[in-house]
Symmetry: D3
């Protein structure tokens, strides 16, 4: 597939691009959205979900970007790491925070496999907090 720039986009896609640009106060959408424009239904749903989920809420927007990076590092999605690290930094994340994030992600991936291997019974105290 090829990226679809604004000027070649259908009216439906242009409407999503316009909303991304207005919401984020940017001059152009990034390449992810130009690629996803190949499937306008999914472009609209994905943007709608990003807009609703990634805004400040019980968790603030910077923290949500850090969680996004944690998932992307676990899955080794290079584009996603690049874009959400940039987004986290734009919301104030520092080198020190990112470095600690990477340490936690590495550690969790290790203990996840140790738990897979040893299969400890879930402690009674954890069950009530499920």
């Amino acid at each position: 597939m090829k990226p679809i720039p604004y000027e070649k986009a259908s009216p439906d896609v242009k409407a999503v691009f316009d909303d991304i640009k207005a919401t984020r106060k940017v001059a152009d959408v990034n390449n992810f959205w130009k690629m996803l424009a190949n499937e306008p239904v999914m472009l609209e749903q994905t943007w709608r979900t990003v807009k609703a989920v990634m805004a400040n809420g019980a968790l603030d927007a910077k923290l949500k970007e850090l969680i996004y990076v944690a998932v992307s590092v676990t899955n080794n999605c290079e584009y996603c790491m690049a874009s959400h690290t940039a987004a986290a930094r734009a919301k104030g994340a520092t080198d020190a925070e990112l470095n600690e994030l990477y340490a936690v992600v590495g550690l969790a991936n290790m203990t996840n496999r140790l738990a897979n291997a040893y299969k400890p019974e879930v402690d009674a105290a954890f069950r009530e907090h499920g």
Copy 2:
């Protein structure tokens, strides 16, 4: 493998268990550590790393537990979700925060695959924040 309770543990293992109990101010270690005690070298290294990495730092301890949960949900590690959700709650995480966390984790796993599929070129603006 079988869990190794405190009273059957070797002096090396007991020393780690004692440090976990003193650090966390708990009466007993949870089942993960009793299972990992089958491999005392790894028990010591894992606890040492958890102690060093999960403490308050540039990121606070509650946030680190939330990141741990995000990785564990991505990897579907049931024990880890149970134990680190409990730890996050003990550090103040609310239902509202956990629910938003799950939404971000779900969304990130979706866009990770959309990026895999469409392989957008990494935008120039992201590269400088790597």
Copy 3:
């Protein structure tokens, strides 16, 4: 490891290469097979399985290629996405079909993690269809 071209291949490997070329009506095998030729036993087993599994059956061959792409996108295997997208197209897959495929793959990866996180009990109605 280095790719093993036809002219440098052992008789065993040549026999597999010949069968791939005859079955697919192609002048040369692709790079995956030339690399796998480093392990002739696995080359033979893998080709044998591909030949038996990917042919038309209850599911037609184009659909099987689309499923292959879905798995490869989930796992982020770049070579596999390239080769099986090409195979799907050769069997008639269109841009519209691939774009919808990517949307389903993204969505499934999201709801897989939401199910991991919330652990809904399997509905009674689903159990009888297992």
Copy 4:
């Protein structure tokens, strides 16, 4: 988290539940939606995306369910396998089709790792179909 049944749901959640029931012509929503109701924003976004993406399109709805199953098997999401296998069967999928699907998913997961290990160069012929 606990499932939220219809009678205890907020008006926003009820509206989504009503749309699921009307769209699918079912008496009640399944447990996944009752759990996701803990996060009404994500419930709405997820349902909206499922409704838009999983309908008949360039790919028919049965095939989309099979792709969903392929991803869920790769990720080992037990609830998702159960629910989307049931959905695929409701749309006409047979035992023979599901068995062939599993074979393709297994095979793709194998060759994905063989490609990871041997890293064949992407053939020129594949690049033009990206």
Copy 5:
């Protein structure tokens, strides 16, 4: 799907079951093969590949079982961990070996993510050993 016991199996499936029993000198095949018998083509291909790949070779059979366990722990496949841990033990693997294996698997999963996050350039010295 339901397991297919020997007495209800088709002649093709019986032939595979007989070969498994003769090769492994066991009275009955395990449940994995009885389930896979729902798809006789894949049953035959999988058994053929297991027989060819898991035998003593440059790596001995016990070590191959340990590698199988390492992959299964990484992927959290409970049945596979159970069956290949049993197979490794039957070939002489000890508790001490399994415990060290789990430690290596955990550690590798951690450093895999640290490498994903930090993306170090591949050292020149590694390239010549690829």
Copy 6:
């Protein structure tokens, strides 16, 4: 993040680098450690764990490197495959051993998904070896 060379490293980082160089009898540390030096606490913990876990024990060091490669191939970590394949070769691993390793890793990833799909009941005989 940028790699931190020895001459720009803090005393804490230099101490870890010195221990790596002395333990491995190498003139410089590889790029992984220079990147991880951005987070000195995790650098120290990771090196300490690598040193303790990867040494000869019940499993010899070469075998541990092969297991590391198996995990890295499953997770598709390119840097890790490169570095641990080099380490395995330095400890005596041959092409024949690596090729067989890749075959086992591929096969295990296939049967892991077949087991996910068919969910065979764990055989009684396996349970006692858990």
